[in-house]
Symmetry: C2
Subunit: 176 residues, 2 copies
């Protein structure tokens, strides 16, 4: 007998990978689910952006409970929706459920300087708090994913289906 | 020294309770976060509706991984957003993060007959699967909550701030 959990899922294909990367690339916010001290998931809306290798990045306050939870256990869930899809039934809109491992990006890295500029361009109001000492950029590294591209169109994803490989970047540069 | 987790939160007031109940009442979908077998939160979008005492209710397939997770551990997180707010910065839109305890509603109960009719009125396409043997209505009983009504407007909520009391129902009947 098949594991019931596997019955409704398809293998990822090029179209599933394209939709997955486009969802991360267009994302300005997402729902983060961290494990609370009692092990129960705590959900919050966070602002996000595609960062290194197309991986999601978030700017989080050290005072927020999701930050202390991630310092305790960096494994979390992240739901990214199709933000352009605002009409019709949201249960038919594409969304991506990621299992992630969150890691503070060292503020001394060049990556943070680049991210800071792009973040402020996308979120001008962030200038009020982006330089406060408790704010950090976090890399939300995808460990696995589930793409739901509508009824009956669910794909289980590995990191290679989600994150841009150096080969992808080369191909993109050559085609642009 | 105050617990950093408590610094940004206000006590609930009548307006916070009004917004909270309105968010549940208007909700047609939400993000559910269950604990996976490894304890890591798994997030998914689910269809919801306000049910008994204004508590959220969901119709879930027994084949979905969130159902097996909830049977293992019924404690979960639920994020309900303001679905009417589609313009402007989503980080300023009201949303409600609940800690819930999920429970299958006995299909023999009159509550299920009532819910079935209201669910089909709101989700006509559900007629394809609502009577499949693995589908069940779940009560997502709020244990606690956090209302974020915009920047600097966060309130910690108890069940009495979230769920309608019989007194509320009486007041509503008298005023209608």
């Amino acid at each position: 007998m098949k594991d019931p959990a596997d019955i409704p899922y398809r293998a990822p294909d090029a179209e599933a990978r394209r939709i997955t990367r486009a969802l991360i690339s267009q994302a300005r916010h997402a729902v983060l689910g961290v494990a609370g001290q009692d092990g129960v998931p705590i959900l919050s809306r966070i602002a996000v952006m595609a960062g290194p290798d197309g991986q999601p990045v978030a700017l989080l306050s050290g005072l927020a409970q999701h930050s202390s939870a991630l310092l305790r256990d960096p494994r979390a869930g992240l739901l990214i929706a199709d933000e352009a899809a605002q009409k019709g039934d949201p249960m038919t809109h594409a969304r991506l459920s990621l299992q992630i491992e969150a890691k503070v990006i060292d503020p001394a890295q060049q990556t943070v300087t680049d991210l800071r500029g792009r973040w402020l361009a996308a979120n001008p109001k962030a200038k009020i708090y982006i330089d406060l000492p408790d704010f950090r950029f976090w890399l939300l590294h995808p460990v696995s994913g589930l793409l739901n591209a509508g009824f009956g169109r669910a794909h289980r994803l590995s990191p290679a289906d989600i994150v841009n490989s150096p080969a992808d970047d080369t191909a993109r540069e050559q085609s642009s």
